[in-house]
Symmetry: C2
Subunit: 311 residues, 2 copies
């Protein structure tokens, strides 16, 4: 089989080493170094943010494989051939990273670690009343693969977890809210809101003034999905009015976040540089290789995207 790797953000050498170790018959080509290869012989592209029009140059693709858990790095190509199977990456290492990052920040706020850090800087020995963990209500906005993994880990730590998604989900110990009509009820019980939605035309800008107003007073917003889910000015207004008590933002409308953006210096905002979860070529290659083997055997690939739905 022949695979063309197309990404400026991922390490081609690491993906080559890991994938060819699993698939000895695979010829691993890298764009643009290997652009002299006959495009008709390429069976797979493994890509993130290819320049528009590149993917359609390969007429005989068996599948388009995203290097990301999302597919917005593929569907951003307006000339994408939509008749080809499109597969997103389910990487156990990425899932673990997202779970750990979410768990860390929920524990940070639940255990008042920021306040204790300030006490320590002032050499102040002071114990705060500690709320019971099962009184802390966490809401997972976007209850797919990653959202369910994060929700289950928080429920295992005894938080009161609910998830919101377009269609209902059955996850042990977690309340599932589904559809637009259930959104206000879900938001009204989310002391901490974690966004793990896919980015689609329907979810772009979803975290706006109206959504934030539906959260309980003092709520915390943690955005681990995409910067374009959030209306920056609406978040700042809700923090400044006192309606929200804090925000953790790992993703931004434009990345890297510009040095002059007000998020950096806002005392209620924590900025992290899109590091909640990173794809690992080691574990990611397991998932990509297993899917290529399925397709070669004539089976339907796992983690196939429904382009009509957008995720």
């Amino acid at each position: 089989m022949n695979l063309m790797f197309i990404s400026n953000e991922d390490r081609a050498d690491q993906w080559r080493d890991n994938l060819t170790a699993l698939l000895p018959d695979l010829n691993f080509y890298v764009w643009p170094d290997d652009q002299a290869v006959d495009p008709a012989t390429i069976d797979y592209v493994l890509a993130w943010k290819p320049a528009p029009g590149i993917i359609k140059r390969f007429p005989n693709l068996k599948a388009i494989l995203s290097l990301g858990a999302g597919i917005d790095g593929i569907t951003c190509d307006p000339e994408l051939p939509i008749d080809k199977p499109l597969v997103h990456l389910v990487d156990r290492s990425l899932t673990q990273g997202m779970v750990q990052f979410a768990l860390y920040w929920v524990l940070h706020f639940h255990r008042q670690m920021g306040t204790y850090q300030k006490f320590a800087e002032a050499r102040t020995w002071r114990q705060l009343p500690q709320a019971e963990v099962d009184a802390c209500r966490v809401g997972i906005l976007g209850f797919g693969e990653l959202g369910q993994a994060v929700g289950s880990a928080l429920a295992a730590q005894h938080f009161d977890v609910a998830g919101w998604s377009r269609s209902p989900k059955q996850i042990a110990g977690i309340t599932s809210y589904a559809g637009a009509e259930a959104l206000p009820g879900f938001l009204g019980r989310s002391d901490m809101l974690i966004c793990l939605l896919p980015l689609t035309p329907e979810t772009e800008g979803i975290i706006d003034a109206a959504l934030l107003a539906a959260l309980p007073r003092g709520a915390i917003v943690i955005n681990l999905a995409r910067g374009r889910h959030l209306v920056d000015a609406d978040l700042l207004a809700a923090l400044d009015s006192g309606h929200l008590s804090a925000a953790v933002l790992d993703v931004f409308y434009n990345e890297p976040l510009a040095a002059e953006h007000p998020f950096w210096a806002h005392e209620k905002v924590t900025v992290t540089p899109h590091i909640a979860a990173l794809t690992s070529p080691r574990s990611g290659a397991d998932s990509v290789a297993a899917n290529i083997e399925r397709i070669e055997r004539g089976e339907t690939p796992l983690n196939l995207i429904d382009l009509a739905r957008g995720y």
Copy 2:
């Protein structure tokens, strides 16, 4: 039954409400307010750090119940009647708190959150290489009730966990090291060392220069047990030499930690005011009431202490 509550650090009113709701026949007395009650009628003391000699005033005790997970707040009484059953508190809320606090700090260092905080203060967008979670070796020094709960939670998050205790333990997914001869091997593989030992004459001062020298270079020490496990000067020397990269200390030789203690200002030390895990009268009362019921039925109480062993 008649119970005498003796503590300056716990809320008598909350314990009274929760215990008498579970045990309607219980007469709940509080020392010293109720010192006029005939001491011969008292069946139980529920205590933490009673003044020396108080417990022995009650000649007919069926058991001495500690308000702490440790019993050093009981055995500090040199006149303690050692012929009475002594029971330590296993409180699910305290266990959950300890697990969450340990998990938070392990994630903090594994995910380099302190460095990202400094980057954010400098408005610097920079992604660091991220080590795989299963390459991060955590060692639990003291592998009893709390140590096993912490270890299991970390193993569930894919950390490479080992536990050290006096006798071998069988816990799924965790390597058990037992006895003095196994200690060097355990320490040599502990990138992060979490102390959850009971305080006994054998464990007092155990975290000294020799123990710290046996850790890998760059190791992190997290003490959640008792301040007297640690030789403060040896820890500072190991941090200053660069052998250790960080320490989190929740417990201290003298509490509150004095404002002039060097731990407060040391850039590699995080001080928290003994808040890793707090006993909850709500959940703790469940455990105390169940044990009183066992004793009243003539059964052996759970969580009985072996005073010869010291835990």
